[in-house]
């Protein structure tokens, strides 16, 4: 089929057809998801060992390590980072950034995290908190939470 100018007629494809992709695309997607699922399983197995504990890092330095309290006890940790002090609260509800010197405050907005694998990071202040270990109630849990500026 040709147009008036003897060019082959362009085939119009709808967006829906484009969205379906080819078999090669589907195989690639499936393979990628398989690799990601394997990675996820590996990480969750590593994280779920031991009692739930909060680790606070500044860069590559471990600043503090606290088991999550079972009672009403609340611990406040002042973590000195690159641009100031981040106040981190650890309670039975989990761990959260109470205050931070960063401008965007994504770390504070991330809220409280309590499951194994939860990570909150304040990139400008180079502070990161991680929860490792799990109790019986949340043994299967590995939750994506937030990494913040």
């Amino acid at each position: 089929m040709t147009t008036k100018n003897n060019h082959p007629k362009a085939v119009t494809v709808s967006f829906r057809q484009c969205l379906q992709g080819t078999w090669a695309d589907r195989i690639l997607l499936f393979s990628l998801l398989l690799v990601i699922a394997f990675l996820w399983l590996q990480i969750s197995q590593t994280l779920n060992q031991g009692t739930p504990t909060a680790y606070i890092y500044h860069g590559n330095t471990l600043l503090a390590k606290y088991p999550l309290p079972d009672d009403q006890h609340i611990i406040h940790v002042a973590a000195q980072g690159e641009i100031g002090i981040s106040d981190i609260e650890i309670s039975k509800n989990g761990i959260r950034f109470d205050s931070s010197p960063c401008t965007t405050h994504h770390c504070i907005l991330a809220g409280s995290k309590r499951y194994a694998g939860s990570v909150i990071a304040c990139v400008p202040n180079h502070i990161m908190v991680v929860i490792r270990g799990s109790d019986k109630e949340n043994k299967e849990s590995i939750k994506f939470d937030a990494i913040s500026e």
Binding site: T3, N5, H7, P8, A10, V11, T12, V13, F15, C18, L19, G21, T22, A24, D25, L28, L29, L32, L33, I36, A37, L39, W40, I43, L47, Y55, Y57, G59, N60, H106, A110, G117, V119, A121, V123, P124, H126, I127, M128, V130, R132, I142, F144, D145, A146, I147, S148, E149
Partner: protein
Amino acid sequence: MVKQKINIPPRPPLALLQQQAVWLSFVLLAIGLHVFEAALPSLGPWFKFGVANIMTLLALMYLGARAAFTLAIARVIIGSMFIGTLFTPTFFISLTGALSAATVMVIFYKLIPRISLISLSLLAAIAHMSGQFIAVETWFIQQPALYYLLPPLLSLSCISGWINGAIATYIWQKLKMEREQ
């Protein structure tokens, strides 16, 4: 009266000017998308849909590898100026992600010339996210624990990569039709 000889530089060929105009329009669109995306509420900190990568993909298809790279760099620098993140950690993370994505796109496009835009976009999305994590781990928080977040974010990247690839395919079809007419 002494006649002065003026050396007028030869005019650049029209095809080159057209290419430059197309590149510029792609850059402007990419910057617009970059700024627009920054204004949108994100699904989670660090996760963005990466719609600006559509323009990198189209630049690669339409103009070639060099244009794709320069577009990725220009988009991040100028876009960051607009959103006020130039030379902040966000800027460096964004630049690393954009360059990783462009590199992967170019490599796979050269290796497999018949690769579809969806596959390219999927691979670029994975590279973008992985590149960002490597940048954070190298420059800001030197903790391998950071990678705990990688699998869920990579899963989201697969979805966004697929959709962006489909959009790029649709636009590319239209552009090809325009070219043929």
